[in-house]
């Protein structure tokens, strides 16, 4: 048996490895997605004052610090049993929209676009964001920079800093929004709405109007029929900051809708020997292996599954795009690569929602914190991270010292479907008797890049070389093919 190892995966935060097991005649026998790093963050939290948690957990990773900050802040509120003021809730959500904007922009233009604007089989040396600029021109490239920067600047204006915020405090936020800050944020948010509309138009022009790309998106290599998870408001519309977790089945019917504190009644985690990362599944169905279909316990928590699990979007332009997407692809949609489209719908929603929040007359109210008075004990906070439902659960002693912490991070939810998506893509793309070329490997990577995965906390050390090596090993153990990329 030949072995193809993709290690580490390009464009993936942290460290991951794909192993493809090929038979003697070159056909795919099996595929594994492995996370060889051991996370230790929950242990790191033990013994710390719980009010420090929202400032510590963003260090888990530089990619979605505000998500951890928000989930942690909500969990701390629950630990103290304190209800935050309405303005504090709106400010937290406004801050959060800033992260959604810059994160979704970065993903679409830097990760997804190279495969679609330049083509999945295009020359590797040019298949990146600089190559995109060469193709689409400086004007669009400049818009990307402005768009991303606005996301960061919104976070800074609202919360003081973006990468590792110190904004959430027990019972609210650390400062109100001034009139001047409100005006600056409103201006940026309104510009972002236009940039999001532009991005959806670009997606339509470049991807949807290209039959070859549409065939890839709708083809069998990238389909996966599993359940869908996402946070929804009282009207079952997508909400990133607050609400209940709704899970719908492969036909779109609601399986369960639960409050954050009930998550352990509905989600359990399976362990496989080949990965440190657990595989969450729905308790109602149990773990039945890496299987698709109505009776499987596997679910996805991605932009696409958030839209699948909801009945609509809470802002008008995003709702229209939501409708257009499902009118085109059907609902529920099981096309993994349609996640890119769903991400752009969410991007538009984030921008519109930011405008709604910053123009709310209450947004500059000075009452932004209710100081907790209760005895701390236990609390759960859930938000939608860009890459999936994020759960923080803390148990403290009566002095508020963390005794136990449990985190189910966005990508962990998707561990099983990522593994399955990779295998499915490889089954369709690896051909008997043919060497596994760089173009094929890239198309296999596309199956998991759609999930916007993020594992562990990557170090940021020099020299920054992040090599990619693919090794094909023959049945006798000889290395037959080595592909390197950087």
């Amino acid at each position: 048996m030949k072995t193809v190892v993709v290690d580490p995966i390009t464009r993936l935060e942290g460290h991951g490895k794909i192993t493809l097991f090929l038979g003697d005649d070159g056909e795919l026998k099996n595929a594994y997605f492995q996370i060889p790093e051991l996370r230790g963050f929950e242990k790191f939290l033990e013994g710390r004052p719980v009010e420090e948690a929202p400032r510590i957990v963003p260090r888990i990773c530089g990619v979605c610090p505000a998500c951890h900050h928000m989930a942690s802040g909500k969990a701390v509120d629950a630990v103290y049993g304190v209800e935050i003021p309405p303005t504090a809730k709106k400010l937290r959500e406004l801050f959060f929209m800033g992260e959604y904007i810059h994160s979704h922009v970065a993903h679409f233009y830097a990760l997804a676009a190279p495969d679609f604007v330049l083509g999945p089989g295009s020359e590797k040396a040019k298949r990146h964001i600089l190559g995109i600029v060469d193709k689409v021109g400086l004007e669009i490239g400049g818009k990307v920079l402005t768009f991303r920067k606005h996301g960061h600047e919104i976070m800074k204006a609202v919360g003081g800093k973006c990468t590792h915020p110190v904004y959430n405090v027990p019972g609210g936020v650390s400062r109100p929004l001034t009139d001047e800050q409100r005006d600056a944020v409103e201006k940026m948010a309104r510009e972002c709405v236009e940039l999001a509309k532009f991005s959806l138009q670009l997606f339509e022009d470049v991807v949807l109007k290209n039959k070859a790309y549409l065939d890839i998106i709708t083809g069998p290599a990238y389909q996966l029929e599993v359940h869908n998870m996402g946070l929804v408001d009282e009207q079952n519309r997508v909400n990133f900051y607050d609400g209940k977790v709704r899970v719908t089945d492969v036909k779109g019917k609601e399986i369960v809708k639960y409050a954050p504190g009930e998550y352990l009644q509905h989600v359990a985690e399976h362990v496989e020997e080949f990965s440190y990362l657990k595989f969450p599944y729905l308790k109602k169905f149990g773990w039945k292996g890496f299987t698709e279909g109505a009776e499987s316990g596997v679910y996805r928590a991605t932009p696409l599954s958030r839209l699948n699990a909801a009945d609509g979007m809470a802002t008008p332009l995003a709702q229209a795009e939501y409708q257009r997407m499902f009118d085109t692809l059907g609902k529920p949609c099981n096309l993994t690569l349609a996640t890119h489209w769903a991400r752009l719908v969410e991007l538009l929603y984030s921008c519109e929602r930011a405008v709604e929040l910053v123009t709310d007359p209450q947004i500059t109210d000075k009452h932004v914190r209710n100081v907790p008075t209760g005895t701390p004990h236990e609390g759960v906070g859930i938000v939608e991270a860009q890459r999936g439902t994020l759960t923080h659960h803390y148990v403290t002693d009566e002095k508020g010292i963390i005794r136990k912490a449990n985190l189910i991070v966005g990508t962990t939810n998707n561990n099983a479907p990522i593994t399955m998506s990779i295998k499915k893509a490889a089954q369709h793309l690896v051909q008997k008797g043919k060497p596994v070329g760089e173009d094929v490997l890239n198309m296999i990577e596309m199956a998991f890049r759609a999930y916007d995965p993020c594992f562990s906390c990557a170090t940021h050390s020099l020299p920054g070389h992040f090599p990619m090596e693919v090794t094909v090993v023959g049945p006798d153990g000889d290395v037959r093919q080595v592909l390197e990329r950087s």
């Binding site: 390009t10 464009r11 993936l12 935060e13 942290g14 230790g40 963050f41 242990k43 790191f44 510590i56 260090r59 530089g62 990619v63 610090p65 994160s103 970065a106 993903h107 830097a110 990760l111 040396a125 040019k126 298949r127 990146h128 964001i129 600089l130 190559g131 600029v133 400086l138 490239g141 400049g142 920079l145 991303r148 920067k149 960061h152 990468t163 590792h164 916007d452 995965p453 993020c454 906390c457 990557a458 170090t459 940021h460 050390s461 020099l462 020299p463 920054g464 070389h465 992040f466 990329r485 950087s486």
Partner: protein, 164 residues
């Protein structure tokens, strides 16, 4: 001349935090009167790198980066000034992480978009022993390198001031 001293790293990953600690020390020495005549020096810290570096360097003439280095030829705590052009050779334009294109690719991207980004870049790497344990403390050899690393940065600033 506007100079940005940027410490990079993760503050809770042992030696990975050394760039941040050096930035702290440089800032303290400058506040205490260390000479940087003719320079407008801004000391910053960032824990994610890549794209995010653009938020700090827009409009700057000179960038001094300080970061932990996993270069296997460096002993823990050993300092090395890297040739930024050699580091740029690593750049492929592809991402190094999920949302972080390579920092040099990000700078090149911004330059092509007409942003004013530093034309002069100095990169100080500090050899590490442990960048995987969750702790706020560096290992002893790396912690001992903070003071000489800060001195090395100040010497670079002095040299930059002399040519300004």
């Amino acid at each position: 001349m506007r100079v940005v001293v940027l410490g990079l790293g993760n503050s809770v990953l042992a030696d990975d935090a050394v760039g941040l600690k050096v930035a702290d020390r440089v800032e303290a020495l400058l506040a205490g009167g260390a000479p940087a005549d003719g320079l407008a020096v801004e000391v910053c810290r960032n824990e994610s790198g890549g794209w995010d570096v653009l938020d700090y360097v827009e409009g700057a003439d000179v960038l001094v980066l300080v970061d932990a280095s996993t270069d296997s030829t460096l002993a823990p705590g050993e300092l090395r000034w890297y040739d930024p052009h050699a580091l740029t050779a690593f750049t492929s334009g592809r991402l190094r992480g999920v949302h972080n294109i390579d920092m040099f690719a990000a700078l090149e991207y911004a330059r092509r978009m007409g942003w004013r980004v530093p034309s002069e870049i100095h990169v100080l790497g500090i050899g590490v022993q442990d960048v995987r344990t969750f702790t706020e403390d560096c290992t002893p050899a790396v912690a001992a390198a903070v003071e000489p690393a800060a001195a090395a940065v100040l010497a670079r600033l002095a040299a930059a001031a002399a040519t300004a």
